[in-house]
């Protein structure tokens, strides 16, 4: 287990978000996607740190005291206790923990320097290098970390550095005089501050790397690459009946999901945890062109994405924060996702309305009437093209989510010879029970539909069908759609962006706050994660 792995645990939750763009005057609607890091995660991370000691592992680090020309490299383990999340204001939080014992075993050599640009440490002693064993111990002490999320700034509280330094002992057994030298108050404080600097910069650089500068962008093709509905058809095929995509290939190939922080009011701290809000958006080819400066239709998609990603890191493009921040309750979960229902509906509208819900249902009447009306199978079929006039909407009623597809128009026609002759139009209202879930493997927010709770109502717009015929269609449509939802019960909504990397996650609780869904998640910090 390495230090960066620990930091991953600390920070992985932040990695949730990415960004959207506000390219030029193309202003997508504001979709505040949020993540809340709960105090419980800090407690869990401390437990994880303690497991390092229990497993006889350590965190390696090195530093160079240039004033003393001394190089040290240590492997550290420590026992921590009593982690506390202290909210200082709406923009500052303080994380406090006690060090019950800290012990580092390593080596020392005289002669080192730090590159002023790269900060890389080089041992300058002449070979053969003769390292001497060194140990560092702190009996106990309090450690606090001040976090100002608006600046993404993390600082170790130095006010107690003198007290901690007074409890620190550095030993170089082979060199008692050096031991005496390094245990002077000023050197001990210098060593401690070096360790603190190192911790801060490591966490900060890891955060930057892990959060990709708080920028994220991913194409729909990438989002949906494993979605069988996106890639193939027919969707349902059984004797004489086929449900398939109306168009042979994805039409919205440039559709892209992106998010970035709001320029202001993006980060908050409360006693419930650290809240971060991002503007999530679906970008089309025009947005991508404005953002990347490249023509998506003519350029390599990876180059377009890379240019767009870099552009998204420009804060000038970020949207000013103006959204209704949900009121959150305390939770013993590790973190929470705040998902506006407008975003899930927007995902349906962007990912699925035109592509995945424009379907064609063919009932091969020739096959079904073979031997009844005609001896041979005749080339005649009923074709129902299905084109939703509005995107499906997720709603929350009576303590459950459901997906409503209203004004869903089915054009019914007969395919005869080389043409489809339209007969009538049927309007349908389709409702199905839905739930949000996190897919840690695919790193996706998904909507899971329950085909056992599926309702369908049809209405003949043209008035050409009898009630019995409408009932017959209703039966047919319900049976086909039930098959469809059984085969395709999970739909990608948008990337979670954070990378759980083999960590098991569970949804503990789902609540609705205003226009947002709050998913409380717990995470199992087990295993050796990269």
């Amino acid at each position: 287990m390495h230090f960066k792995n620990i930091l991953f645990y600390i920070c992985f939750g932040l990695h949730f978000f990415s960004q959207s763009t506000n390219a030029a005057d193309e202003t997508p609607s504001v979709q505040p996607l949020g993540i809340v890091i709960r105090p419980n995660l800090v407690r869990k991370l401390i437990e994880q740190l303690n497991q390092i000691q229990n497993n006889n592992q350590n965190i390696s680090f090195e530093f160079c005291l240039e004033e003393s020309n001394a190089y040290f490299a240590f492997g550290l383990n420590a026992l921590w206790s009593d982690p506390k999340w202290i909210n200082l204001s709406s923009s500052r939080a303080y994380i406090q923990a006690k060090v019950a014992s800290l012990r580092a075993i390593g080596k020392y050599i005289a002669g080192c320097q730090i590159d002023p640009v790269t900060k890389k440490i080089t041992v300058t002693a002449l070979p053969p290098l003769k390292f001497r064993e060194a140990t560092l111990e702190i009996a106990n002490g309090n450690l606090g970390i001040l976090f100002e999320p608006q600046k993404m700034d993390l600082k170790i509280d130095r006010t107690e550095a003198s007290e901690i330094a007074s409890k620190m002992t550095l030993k170089i057994p082979e060199a008692p005089r050096l031991t005496e030298f390094f245990n002077s108050t000023s050197i001990r404080e210098a060593i401690l501050n070096k360790i603190f600097d190192l911790t801060e910069s490591t966490i900060s650089s890891w955060l930057t790397e892990k959060l990709r500068g708080l920028s994220f962008i991913q194409s729909a093709g990438e989002v949906l690459k494993d979605n069988p509905i996106w890639k193939t058809g027919p969707l349902v095929q059984r004797s004489g009946v086929t449900l398939e995509l109306a168009e042979p290939s994805p039409s919205q190939q440039y559709l892209t999901f992106a998010f970035n922080p709001f320029r202001t009011n993006s980060f908050f701290t409360t006693s419930n945890g650290l809240e971060l809000y991002f503007n999530a958006t679906f970008l089309n080819a025009d947005h991508l062109k404005a953002l990347s400066g490249l023509e998506p239709t003519a350029q390599n998609s990876e180059a377009v994405m890379e240019h767009a990603r870099k552009a998204l890191q420009n804060k000038a493009l970020w949207t000013e924060g103006s959204f209704d921040r949900p009121i959150l309750s305390a939770s013993d979960s590790d973190f929470s996702l705040v998902i506006p229902t407008t975003l899930t509906n927007s995902a349906w509208g962007n990912f699925y309305q035109q592509r995945l819900l424009s379907l064609r249902l063919t009932v091969d009447i020739g096959k079904q009437t073979k031997g009844l009306i005609a001896a041979e199978e005749q080339n005649v079929s009923t074709v129902i093209t299905i084109n939703p006039q509005s995107a499906p909407k997720m709603t929350y009623e009576a303590n459950r989510f459901k997906l409503d597809i209203e004004n869903y128009v089915m054009n019914v026609g007969t395919h005869l010879e080389d043409r489809t002759i339209p007969s009538t139009q049927i309007q349908s209202h389709l409702t199905i029970a839905a739930a949000l879930k996190v897919d840690p493997v695919r790193k996706m927010m998904k909507m899971a539909l329950d085909p056992s709770q599926f309702e369908l109502k049809l209405k003949d717009i043209k008035g050409r069908l009898s009630d019995e015929e409408v009932a017959l269609f209703e039966h047919l449509a319900k049976s086909i759609w039930t098959d469809f939802f059984k085969q395709n019960s999970e739909f990608e909504i948008f990337p979670t962006v954070f990378d759980p990397e083999n960590l098991h996650m569970e949804i503990q609780n789902v609540t609705v706050s205003g226009a947002s869904i709050v998913l409380d998640l717990s995470i199992a910090l087990k295993g050796d994660n990269k």
């Binding site: 009306i373 005749q378 019914v412 007969t414 339209p422 017959l472 039966h475 047919l476």
Partner: protein, 347 residues
């Protein structure tokens, strides 16, 4: 059967089992040439005794010529059982087999691949011109020699609907794009559309047939949004098209597919399919008004209508029956039908 949408089936069955309407027009010499074969799709007229179509039966399959007087069939391209979009001009035939366009000029020649639809064909002495849609659904024009050698292949401003000669232009095209239905003419064998005029703005423009009747250009077309048949006419290049609704009521009918234009004593007359009734209809122009009737033919009839011969007394019509009602208990499917229609009186 229990999950079958009966409304559609009823439309098909009812249109045949019961002869739906009566008509005062006199149909005679009704014949089903080569009845055992599945014939008549994409029907083309070579002359009054010879038709070109596709035979989808298991025997004598492919692109075929039908001699009406002897009721004999000769196979022109046996590998073209799936021939579609068949067009004929000056004895030459173009047709599509899957994504390939072929030219038949005494033998089948492959013209090109990667085609989704072949729209029109016109042969002009030294070269032929087709219009087509490629797999990206782009509308294009291709010119070629009689040995199939391609001269040019260029984009055109809309999807070809009908090609004909009119006024001083031997190579005119009715085409449709997002703005509407247009008429224009091509330049030489390497040129695209040189000049065009609107026929009607909007979406109407399916199943277009164009013909010069008594010096007047007549363009008949189906407005499939409204379900009505329209006819646009003009006498010279400078004139604006005058458009009439020939048959149908918007939203209440679906009349006007597979149109054939005949010379009805100097006026255009129309034979076409009623898509909901699956019946052949006749429309004629008398005293400044259009009148139409359903022809008394039993079955699901009236596809791919063509005028085989015409004079002042009768017209001979060729078409394809999806289903032919022989009697109350006997029906057959996929037949070529020919019959005469007396046009001396009024309807």
């Amino acid at each position: 059967m229990k999950s079958m949408p009966f409304y559609i089936l009823i439309a098909i069955i009812c249109s045949g089992f019961i002869s739906c309407t009566s008509s005062s027009s006199s149909v005679s010499e009704y014949n089903l040439p080569l009845k055992p074969y599945k014939l008549g799709e994409y029907l083309q007229v070579e002359n009054a005794n010879s038709l070109i179509t596709v035979n989808r039966s298991d025997e004598q399959t492919g692109l075929v010529r039908i001699e009406l007087s002897t009721e004999t069939l000769s196979v022109l391209d046996p590998s073209a059982k799936e021939a579609r979009d068949i067009h004929m001009s000056s004895g030459k035939i173009t047709y599509r087999v899957d994504q390939e366009i072929r030219l038949w000029n005494n033998k089948p020649i492959s013209l090109m691949g990667g085609v989704s639809r072949l729209r029109t064909f016109n042969w002009m002495k030294t070269f032929g011109r087709i219009t087509y849609e490629n797999l990206k659904l782009e509308s294009r024009s291709l010119t070629f020699r009689e040995d199939g050698k391609v001269i040019s292949d260029s984009e055109i401003p809309g999807s070809g609907r009908a090609e004909l000669a009119f006024a001083s232009h031997p190579d005119c095209l009715v085409f449709q794009n997002s703005e509407g239905l247009f008429w224009g003419y091509f330049g030489n064998e390497s040129e695209g559309i040189k000049e065009s005029w609107p026929i009607e703005k909007g979406k109407a423009g399916a199943y277009v047939t164009a013909r010069e009747v008594n010096g007047t250009l007549s363009v008949a077309y189906f407005d499939d949004d409204a379900g009505i048949l329209k006819l646009a006419k003009k006498s010279n290049l400078a004139e604006t098209f005058a458009t009439d609704v020939v048959d149908g009521t918007s939203g209440q009918t679906y009349r006007g597919m597979d149109i054939a234009i005949f010379n009805d004593h100097g006026e255009p007359g129309l034979i076409y399919l009623d898509g909901w009734a699956l019946k052949t209809r006749l429309a004629r122009f008398f005293n400044g008004k259009w009148k139409s009737i359903e022809l008394p033919l039993r079955g699901a009839v009236g596809f791919y209508n063509q005028i085989i011969a015409e004079n002042d007394e009768t017209i001979t019509i060729g078409s394809h029956n999806f289903r032919t009602q022989i009697d109350d208990y006997h029906q057959i499917f996929e037949n070529l039908a020919t019959f005469k229609l007396d046009i001396r009186g009024r309807i």
